[in-house]
């Protein structure tokens, strides 16, 4: 693990030197997290947006500050963005079109006499 001293911020020359040294090491950016919020019990968590944080705990804290400042939520999930696998819109045809010609999956496909109400 790297070790460094905190920059002494009141000494000017010192400060510049310290920052230069740190800059070399700091090439690691905080990863991106996706934020899901349940607005109230009884509802599902919904995607609210994303943010950068060093770890899951910080992502939770930041999400609380960014996305629930006005009582927007009662529960938060955070997932690191790289763990999400998404379908490719280019494959939308083969993925979603087959559902279009399967009308028999909908109740209106079936003919019933008018006398039958509420079915």
């Amino acid at each position: 693990m790297q070790q460094w001293l905190m920059p002494k911020r009141n000494k000017k020359e010192n400060k510049n030197k310290q920052f230069k040294k740190i800059k070399v090491m700091s090439k690691k950016n905080w990863p991106l997290w996706e934020i899901f919020v349940r607005s109230k019990n009884g509802l599902e968590h919904r995607h609210f947006g994303s943010l950068h944080a060093a770890d899951a705990e910080m992502a939770l804290e930041n999400a609380r500050d960014v996305y629930t400042r006005r009582n927007e939520g009662v529960s938060i999930w955070v997932v690191e963005s790289k763990h999400i696998t998404a379908s490719n819109p280019e494959h939308n045809g083969e993925l979603f079109e087959p559902a279009q010609d399967k009308v028999y999956r909908h109740p209106t496909f079936y003919d019933l006499p008018d006398e039958v109400k509420h079915m």
Binding site: Q2, R9, N29, S50, A54, E90
Partner: protein, 318 residues
Amino acid sequence: MSEEQIKNLEKQFDERILRDEKIEPKDWMPEKYRQTHIRQMSQHAHSEVVGMLPEGNWITRAPSLRRKVALLAKIQDEAGHGLYLYSACETLGVSRNELYDQLHSGKAKYSSIFNYPTITWADMGAIGWLVDGAAIINQVPLCNTSYGPYARAMIRVCKEESFHQRQGYEIMMKLANGTPEQKEMAQDALNRWWWPSLMMLGPTDDKSVHTAQSMKWKLKRKTNDDLRQQFIDQTVPQAELIGLTIPDSDLKWNEESNSYDFGEIDWDEFWQVVKGHGPMNKERMKARVDAWEEGEWVRDAAMAYAEKKQERKQKQAV
């Protein structure tokens, strides 16, 4: 892809937008659409972030606790708005750090209004009332823009923004109804912020280079001149209501057009400020870059700590 294939895709793309379909991050899009969106959304994000600086100037000197908590909440909102917009921008494959670099190196622009100084408390009122008022007029149509992540960010921004304008107007109202000195302070702030607020809505239509393309992509739903007229028509009665005078001797109600005629805007001043010669351009950028650089060790420490915790967890699991 062949040129013909691209043309074909572009045609389909334009038709989707015409049908009011939203475009989502992984959908095919013309490179120019992507670039234009990165430019506009990041400018917007930068404006939110730099916009915190003129107001930050007054947090410690707010005249009451009530004003102070409101100002703090407003500034915190702006940080949040910056974040929503940066995130939306990142869905187009540009990293947060690239965006910051563009801001800090001066390559990217932000709203020129933030290059004016905030010299009295009344400026907090004028900014909320006029600057946020103009911003809302600009932003409401964007809730309907074609790029999904941008539209969603704008819906959230607009929801939060209306408190900003109301708190600003309330500050102006209180001052305008106060002692003669307080009223003078409010009038002085209106005098200084009025014209820059009109400029904020962008160059006149005949000088605006991106308007036609942006209208097509619904990045813009109304032209700059239309937005400006809407802002003036809505703001003039608000000034009258609290007994303040708009600093424009040519301002006159026009029965025929059912709107206000107004005086000439000093576009030279606008371009000067855009090009970096405004009263506060240098200070704003310096404050921003200093904050970023001086925070670097904190960001690094947080990352190192997160890694250490992770390693410890893994060791315990073995």
